[in-house]
Symmetry: C2
Subunit: 200 residues, 2 copies
Amino acid sequence: MTDERPGSLRPGGRTARVREAVLRAGGDLLAERGFAHLDLTEVAARAGVGKTTVYRRWRTPAGLVADILTEMAETSLPHADTGTLLGDLLANATLVAETLTHPRQGPLFKSLIAAATCDEEAARALHHFYDTRLTEWTPCVERAKSRAEIPPETNPRTLLKAVSAPLYYNLLTTGDPITPQSATTAAHSAHQAALLGLYT
Amino acid sequence: MTDERPGSLRPGGRTARVREAVLRAGGDLLAERGFAHLDLTEVAARAGVGKTTVYRRWRTPAGLVADILTEMAETSLPHADTGTLLGDLLANATLVAETLTHPRQGPLFKSLIAAATCDEEAARALHHFYDTRLTEWTPCVERAKSRAEIPPETNPRTLLKAVSAPLYYNLLTTGDPITPQSATTAAHSAHQAALLGLYT
């Protein structure tokens, strides 16, 4: 649940380098000030890229948000494989909690979600990003089925969403802190509901 | 979870009528177009109120969002009292699902949450609104404790948040539809986790 790619100096020449600089600067500004204050001229200056290039390629702040989300979706992250469903769900909850409390990633996710509330292109890119992440973690649920830990009719998407949901709820509505304890509680309650067959 | 007040012609004269018209027009525009496009001049025109009055009293789009949330928090809504914790949680989940799928209220909530991602005053008002709603439903959890349905150490806030969270997660991240089935699943899984003492 992060767009950080260690050592990610992309091959591909100038176009790829420009994209990387612009997405990085755009993400930084989104994290610092939020979507309502995102200005492409400022992004261009921060990225050290010509303003015309940025406007021609990304057109609007929402267009830039959509491309940030597309790049995040392209950046594959390995899912956990601890040997038990509960272990995997705890790993997932911990990853989500770490992302949402990260000084850059937490505010960035808030801003990406805010952009999607008022722009269709950003919304499509956001949905695609979450689809990708949920699909990446589906093997954890399928392995739990093959180990007969949970009913074979369990819906992986419903289960995985139940792990993340309480953490995002704190981030976006109540403002309650996201703690290791809240991550543990989210994983355990989703796990129990899955055992009971509530996600079939 | 709605700011609709049937028959809500407030007493209090011109100032109260102006506030009501401006909050209504602001809410309508937020629902139609989102926070990033909220313009106080347009709100004034839609409300039939002088532009100067609107700018003097609400100053910024975020200031107007904060006042909309303050008024929503002031509007008390009765909680359910069905006689069982599961019944009350199902009523709560149904209310949240109906609000988030309402043609005006769903987009309005998205926009209020988006505003809170980039403005401190709006964020404080949003947190206060959710505090108020969670406090209003706390008696359902306390009654369940007095009926010995759940452990006395159960945290009402954690339990009630677990009911809403999966519905908001669909609204704000995946875009998956919020159905009566998703409301039922959210209530049942929070209920089971509470029975097991996971929210203590």
